[in-house]
């Protein structure tokens, strides 16, 4: 950012200070007088017919008000694919699937009663693996798929377990492979993951006597929650108010369909009394959607002069029992197909496949971490096979804005960004201060990965903003975006301060909002918040400035183009004594004789992506010249690691990343980069939801159960687990139609790490790991398979040293 900006580009403190000073309120904390508590009861089978539910004993527990089962709510809910029961009906689709709910005067009573509900099941054959779900004789998880409502760009396959398929067809892949000098074909896997946001999902709802439904919940996107509830429950939007408090982390897990429909429906049945459903961390693993699993098959070909010419792929998302949001993710990974590289011949199919696991949804990066893990591993392998430097090979093929066409035939705009420089920078940053490892059984390696991503949203995804001046000259900004910690509201404050030329201290962007009080925004996802709301508030500020200039031109009786606005006032050009301040014009300017000019100042702005278009269902190609997203952020990441050949442990010495965009607030940007780096590396090395997919523990654990729904089993990074050094750069390359040139970064910071890590391992020891997480035991196992001599040698060193 150039120094000419006063607030944009500088480390303005976060505006949500109450999180540090006390008093910050989350849905978790929210209560209403006379509130009831809900508790859910989950299925102990991964797939089973519900024969009967007996809750007579539960109703006898003092304080219990009602018990509900699936049959009380005979309809489906969902956004992209309405495949979800309110509570399981007829059959339970996964271990933990809520089959009944108890409502009571206290949480204790609800908990006690929940243990007294007797459900009789008839177990059904089940599938815990994509491969099994695709077999011709697989148990069909959604027999009624043909009756489900879905978005126009979703293509389910009734009679199978395929919830959606996306196709990308470009050029002639077979012919291209016959011309390729090197071909790499591999299968990559990632397990289901948990977002593990710290605030377990919570929702409180009540129905007012006039029929207005109000809900307070832990979500990312208040307007998406409203849209979903309105559609699913047939409530008109003017009778449905979604309240947004602080959200304690989301990472995509609070983007799609959450559980708001439950307290709403319970409240409706109970005369409108407020009902609260607050999950425990353990319940959150079972009742909230988790991240999909991945099975990615890829075959990529290049010529000996280093040109990528062919790519074939089948990308399968393990969607679990409900695929509502995952169908759109399958679409995202398919249409992005090849990472930031131009390849003329492509044949890719992507699928969302039902299994009897916990339902799945979006996760920070919306499939891009997973795609890049696979594709950047392919790139690395190809480079080695060609005997080329991996960075050089990338630079030969990476997109050239203004020239390149993406996998879907979209021509990147001239100012789309800079895909190449981050690759070069990352290599430079990794090459500094090289040292030798201290022990002979410890080896070092370096690896990089390039990446790109834009928000994957409907072509119409709109945002809007209102900027209003208060009587005393302070400013309120109304936006619809969610505040789950990313810092957008602080960055928006900076943008308004810059636009209006007033200090941030006199601007308020409320962290809390209600859908009936603030203007619309589509969603708070895809790293789009700052970009889309930023564009909207800029337009709103411009609108407001026009209004002040108008007033000033009338008051001073000059042509409007003689009025200049800066630093909170509108003045006649060359006559700085003839000015009207924002405060004076706030409610209309009153002249000394009492005549008022203008009225309350309210600026309005909006943003709709220009020329975003849909894609062809058969080829995945854009239907006409246009774009899939309003911006793409480009970057690269790299790691330097040490591998202990005796234990398989990996230590990340250095993690570096470079982003082409400018940063609106370096303090917030650092938070995103460090948080994303730590999360991405942890996913690379530790995280997985464990299911007994191979049936090894039959009889030991309940069948089909998620085996690690807790932090002793699901390992999050702790302070001591972070890399020794985390370095990053923002190149400041501006997009013209972006707020101060800046593009989104929140998800981008997490994308490159698994790929960079796998490439660093290959660089160190020539072993390729194609499955996450890369745990010490997996690494040792792979070394034993691929390079057993390394282990022998390491053990010999140890003997010598002992």
């Amino acid at each position: 950012m150039p120094d000419s900006y006063k607030y944009v580009g500088s480390k303005v403190q976060r505006i949500d200070k109450d999180k540090v000073l006390g008093g910050a309120e989350f849905a978790y904390d929210f209560e209403l007088p006379g509130m009831l508590w809900a508790k859910l009861v989950g299925s102990p089978y991964p797939h089973a017919k519900i024969v009967s539910v007996d809750y007579s004993d539960a109703l006898k527990v003092p304080g219990v008000v009602a018990v509900f089962t699936g049959e009380d709510f005979p309809f489906k809910v969902g956004l992209y694919a309405a495949d979800r029961d309110v509570l399981a009906r007829k059959k339970a689709l996964y271990y933990g699937h809520p089959v009944a709910a108890v409502i009571a005067e206290s949480l204790d009573a609800a908990e006690e009663a929940a243990t007294k509900i007797q459900v009789e099941y008839e177990p059904l054959p089940y599938s815990l693996k994509v491969e099994d779900s695709l077999k011709p004789d697989a148990p069909i998880i959604h027999e009624e798929m043909h009756t489900y409502k879905h978005a126009v760009f979703i293509y389910p396959k009734p009679g199978t377990n395929i919830a959606h398929q996306t196709k990308v067809r470009k050029g002639n892949v077979e012919e291209a492979f016959s011309k390729a000098d090197v071909v790499v074909e591999k299968v990559y896997r990632e397990p289901l993951l948990s977002h593990y946001y710290l605030e377990p999902w919570t929702g409180i709802a009540r129905v007012r006597s006039d029929g207005t439904v109000e809900v307070w919940s832990s979500h990312q996107s208040p307007f998406a929650v409203r849209e979903l509830l309105s559609k699913s429950l047939s409530i008109p939007m003017n009778k449905l108010v979604v309240h947004h408090l602080y959200t304690g982390g989301g990472f995509g897990g609070k983007a799609g369909l959450l559980l708001e429909h439950l307290p709403i429906l319970f409240s409706k049945k109970l005369g409108g009394r407020p009902v609260k459903l607050r999950l425990t961390a353990r319940e959150n693993f079972f009742y909230m959607a988790q991240r999909a699993g991945y099975l990615i098959k890829m075959k990529t070909g290049a010529t000996k002069d280093g040109k990528l010419i062919a790519h074939w792929g089948e990308y399968y998302l393990d969607a679990g029992a409900y695929a509502d949001y995952t169908v759109n993710m399958a679409r995202a990974i398919g249409l992005t197909a090849t990472g930031p590289y131009e390849i003329p011949n492509i044949h890719v199919d992507s699928f969302a496949v039902y299994t009897n696991k916990v339902p799945t949804t979006a996760f920070r990066g919306f499939t891009m971490q997973e795609l890049h893990y696979a594709f950047e591993s392919q790139i690395d392998e190809l480079a080695h096979k060609l005997g080329m430097d991996p960075a050089e090979f990338r630079l030969l093929n990476v997109f050239k804005p203004g020239i390149s066409r993406t996998a879907i035939g979209e021509r990147l705009k001239e100012d789309a960004g800079d895909p190449a420089t981050p690759i070069k920078e990352v290599v430079k940053m990794l090459s500094e201060d090289d040292e030798k490892p201290k022990k002979p059984w410890i080896v070092r390696g370096k690896g990089i990965a390039a990446f790109w991503k834009g928000p994957f949203q409907p072509s119409s995804a709109a945002s809007s903003a209102i900027v209003k001046v208060n009587d005393d000259g302070t400013v309120d900004v109304l936006v619809g975006t969610g505040a789950m910690g990313q810092g957008t509201i602080t960055a928006l404050t900076q943008i308004v301060a810059e636009e209006l030329g007033i200090p941030p201290e006199i601007i308020r962007v409320s962290p809390h909002r209600s859908t009936d009080m603030v203007p619309y925004t589509w969603q708070t996802v895809g790293s789009r918040g700052l970009f889309s709301e930023g564009m909207s508030v800029i337009m709103a500020c411009e609108d407001l400035i026009e209004q002040v200039r108008e007033v000033a031109s009338i008051v001073f009786d000059v042509n409007k183009n003689m009025i200049e606005y800066s630093e909170g006032k509108a003045c006649v050009k060359g006559e700085p004594w003839h000015c009207i301040t924002l405060k004076e014009a706030a409610l209309g300017y009153m002249n000394p004789k009492g005549v008022t000019v203008g009225g309350p100042l309210i600026g309005r702005g909006y943003y709709v992506p220009p020329r975003n278009v849909l894609t062809d269902p058969e080829t995945g190609q854009v239907l006409e010249e246009g774009h899939l997203a309003p911006f793409y952020t480009f970057g690269a990441g790299g790691v330097e690691i040490e591998i202990n050949l005796l234990t398989g442990e990996i230590k990340v010495l250095k993690a570096v990343s470079v982003y082409d965009t400018p940063a609106v607030n370096p303090g917030l940007a650092e938070g995103q980069v460090v948080g994303g780096t730590v999360m991405g590396l942890n996913i690379a090395m530790r995280e997985r939801l464990i299911y007994d997919e191979e049936g090894e523990y039959k009889g030991v654990f309940p069948e089909g159960m998620l085996l690690n729904p807790c932090l002793t089993g699901y390992l999050l990074a702790r302070a001591s687990d972070i890399p020794e050094k985390i370095e990053f750069k923002f190149l400041g390359v501006k997009q013209k139609d972006a707020p101060f040139g800046a593009k989104g970064i929140a998800e981008l910071t997490m994308i490159p790490w698994p790929a960079a890590l796998a490439n660093a391992i290959y660089n160190a020891i020539g072993v390729r790991i194609t499955e996450l997480p890369i745990t010490p035991d997996k690494l040792i196992e792979e070394i034993r398979k691929q390079k057993p001599e390394l282990l022998e040698q390491a053990e010999k060193y140890l003997e010598v040293n002992l």
């Binding site: 976060r14 000073l21 304690g248 982390g249 961390a281 910690g485 730590v678 702790r718």
Partner: protein
């Protein structure tokens, strides 16, 4: 089970309460005293976000039975602002962007208080060791560590 009478001094105010013998301190603080900065997540000692200071030492309040806390002095985030003036640790968290979603923040600020009161010149390693008690999914810890380093330095310099 019969209720037990206990006395707690919470953020300087003495309270007498009748609690159940199997009730956690977390439950007392959140559900009886409505101190909302004290969060819960796992209720089994894993996440650490229910941390409060008990007689000056960090404890996971979900793992302390209310009767065990009888007679003790409890400090939560709310108790750190004195006469409208935030503590050094709070100021440092604001300056160093030591938080994002804020759900874990009260626990880390309180750990920071313990660190600067007990380790005058903490190293990064020492800070990390203490912070390992609590998880944060957002920040990647680095800005939290920087904030605590800064608060410790301010304290050494005699800033208030």
């Amino acid at each position: 089970m019969k209720p037990v009478r206990i006395t707690l001094t919470v953020n300087g105010i003495k309270r007498e309460l009748d609690v159940m013998p199997n009730e956690s301190l977390l439950h007392v603080l959140r559900d009886r005293l409505h101190i909302i900065s004290v969060k819960g997540n796992c209720f089994r000692g894993e996440c650490g976000i229910c941390t409060v200071l008990m007689n000056g030492r960090p404890v996971k309040s979900c793992q302390v039975l209310a009767p065990e806390a009888d007679g003790s002095e409890i400090v939560t985030l709310e108790g750190l602002v004195k006469n409208g003036e935030p503590s050094l640790v709070q100021k440092a968290f604001l300056e160093e962007f030591g938080y994002q979603c804020g759900f874990c923040t009260s626990a880390f600020v309180l750990l920071g208080e313990w660190i600067i009161n007990n380790i005058p010149n903490p190293t990064e390693e020492q800070i990390k060791e203490v912070l390992n008690a609590v998880v944060c999914r957002c920040t990647g810890y680095q800005q939290i560590i920087k904030a605590i380093m800064k608060a410790a330095q301010w304290k050494r310099e005699g800033k208030s």
